[in-house]
């Protein structure tokens, strides 16, 4: 049974690994350049020449998806990283020190939670201007409260464990305890949350593209491809199908991986 679960996680790992490989080897894998237009063969159906067909500007969709994996994964990972670092720091400070600091930080988190994430992201994006970096920042910041809560919860449970007290009895100071005991023991939920967060960030970035606040063209981001192609969904479904599938595959893979990690990193389940 465990094997079965792990097999799913392996599938997830395989998918994510494949995507990462694709991103790294994009120039080798992609048959065309991502911005190579051929205005004479626009909106072509999939064929041997164009595996996934072409888009409305005659660009090879397969190549764009391959190159797009660089951007989408990058956005996902960086946004999740921003969320994890900022949220993780806030959450662990709140959880570890407790009391007033906790109250203040958690109130701030409440405030952030109360502002709808999408509105926050859009406002941040509007303020900073669209673009890769800003999208990542916007999505990243809007996920901070989630991470902060998870991390705080994890820190609170770890903090109550006797080994923390044992370490203090051995002369360990706060710094030592946070570094050597709290962090490693909170890593599991954070990693899990982050792996799921990457998926969320990719979807959020796609939604931003839908409103026109995504990545700058002609950079091929999957969400942007998806929303740019939505006008063609009727006559040229391949223009949305493939980027849509790419997003779904990625998120599916990351979720499987996240679930697998959750089990793998749970010391209770460890043998």
């Amino acid at each position: 049974m465990r094997f079965k679960k792990n097999r799913l996680a392996l599938v997830g790992m395989f998918i994510v690994g494949l995507l990462l490989l694709m991103a790294v080897l994009a120039p080798v894998v992609a048959p065309y350049k991502f911005d190579l237009q051929d205005l004479l063969s626009t909106s072509q159906k999939p064929s041997l020449k164009h595996l996934f067909g072409t888009d409305n500007l005659g660009r090879d969709i397969f190549s764009r998806i391959v190159y797009g994996s660089r951007i989408s994964l990058f956005v996902g990972f960086v946004a999740a990283a921003i969320g994890t670092l900022v949220g993780g720091a806030l959450g662990s400070i709140a959880g570890y020190y407790g009391d007033k600091i906790d109250t203040i930080i958690m109130r701030a988190i409440d405030i952030m939670m109360a502002i709808p994430a999408m509105v926050l992201a859009i406002a941040i994006c509007a303020a900073l201007g669209p673009g890769l970096l800003n999208t990542m920042i916007a999505v990243g910041i809007s996920t901070v409260p989630r991470y902060a809560r998870v991390v705080r919860g994890a820190v609170l449970t770890v903090k109550e464990q006797e080994f923390i007290e044992a370490s203090r009895a051995c002369g360990g100071n706060d710094f030592h305890i946070i570094l050597k005991h709290i962090t490693p023991n909170c890593l599991a939920p954070i990693i899990v949350q982050a792996s799921l967060g990457v998926a969320d960030a990719i979807l959020a970035a796609a939604s931003m593209s839908f409103i026109g606040l995504g990545i700058q063209p002609p950079v091929p981001e999957w969400g942007a491809m998806l929303s740019a192609g939505r006008g063609y969904i009727r006559d040229n479904p391949h223009m949305v199908l493939f980027p849509g599938l790419a997003i779904m595959m990625t998120i599916y893979g990351l979720n499987l991986l996240g679930d697998g990690l959750r089990d793998a990193l749970d010391p209770k389940l460890k043998r």
Partner: protein, 322 residues
């Protein structure tokens, strides 16, 4: 209990202040001139600055903020720059729709998600469980506008079962609610499953079994209520988030909700609407949170007893005094 609620409402004040300050600051520093948005790109500089003065946009940040807060405290959320209507009227014209939409879609999500989660948990690793896990993950990874359009094509255009856009009656509710419901149901299924798995391993389930209770009753009477707390949290979060407007689904199905209003307001630099809207959403979000906490208390007497501690203490001191 009511004391507790009062206390919670009291706690909402700083949160609302924080929200207003953040959104006001964001709006203040966002590029793009509302006056220019109102008057168009060909308007003269003179009329632009005249309008800026009229809207009070030429004042320093602090003054603007203080004015705004003063207004809010007296129930005046300002006038929408574009429609010239009171912001409160604008918001309350949209809020019922958003609320209705949120309620229906969360219902759809619960109706799908909770039973599926329970079945998955009680038959862990079975065929059904695997299918539901796969569906769940798919549900979480489908971009909503994609799903929305697909549903619309199939059920409105080809089958003609449901109208494509609008939100005028039960028939209209189906497609958008399912669109949102599928994703939310995925989260609820997941949460229900894991929470249920946790609960059915507990000793009191074993106790119930040793009483000779049937499996069905064990699940419904003993396990479900205990498993509900994290599920309710999830439902509360999803519900709270959807009160902020399901921007994309609203757009696809042309539903006059808050989300669309907010996005338009941001892009038109319609500050009063953005600020008022965010305050309203934040307020409803915190109210939902409070409700969720009250539901906790209803579900779990341990939590309830935390609420009434103070009351009890008072009573006991009173008794002692007699």
């Amino acid at each position: 209990m009511s004391r507790y609620i009062l206390k919670r409402i009291f706690h909402m004040i700083p949160v609302m202040f924080g929200v207003s300050l953040i959104i006001f600051t964001l709006m203040f520093f966002i590029p793009g001139d509302p006056a220019r948005q109102i008057l168009g790109d060909k308007a003269t500089e003179a009329s632009i600055s005249e309008l800026r003065a009229e809207l009070g946009l030429d004042k320093p940040f602090v003054v603007q903020y203080v004015n705004y807060i003063e207004g809010v405290l007296t129930g005046d959320f300002g006038i929408s720059y574009t429609t010239k209507q009171p912001v409160s009227a604008e918001l309350f014209a949209r809020f019922p729709t958003t609320l209705l939409f949120a309620i229906i879609s969360i219902l759809v999500a619960c109706i799908i998600g909770i039973p599926l989660g329970i079945i998955s948990a009680t038959r862990q690793y079975s065929f059904i469980d695997n299918i539901s896990t796969t569906l769940t993950l798919l549900g979480m990874s489908i971009p909503s506008f994609w799903l929305g359009l697909m549903l619309m094509l199939l059920f409105s255009l080809h089958l003609g079962w449901f109208p494509a856009t609008g939100f005028y009656g039960p028939k209209y509710w189906v497609l958008p609610s399912v669109t949102i419901g599928v994703t939310s149901a995925a989260f609820i299924t997941r949460m229900t499953r894991s929470s249920m798995l946790e609960v059915i391993r507990q000793d009191y389930i074993r106790t119930a079994r040793s009483k000779g209770q049937t499996e069905f009753k064990i699940i419904t009477k003993h396990a479900l209520k205990n498993a509900m707390i994290p599920v309710v949290t999830t439902i509360g979060l999803i519900f709270g988030a959807s009160l902020g407007g399901q921007i994309i689904t609203e757009q696809v199905f042309s539903i006059p909700g808050l989300g669309k209003l907010m996005i338009d307001a941001i892009s038109q630099r319609n500050y009063p609407v953005v600020e008022g809207g965010v305050l309203l959403i934040a307020f409803s979000f915190t109210v939902i949170n409070l409700l969720v906490d009250l539901i906790y208390a209803y579900i779990d007497p341990r939590i309830k007893s935390q609420f009434v501690i103070e009351k009890k203490k008072k009573e006991s001191t009173a008794l002692k005094g007699m």
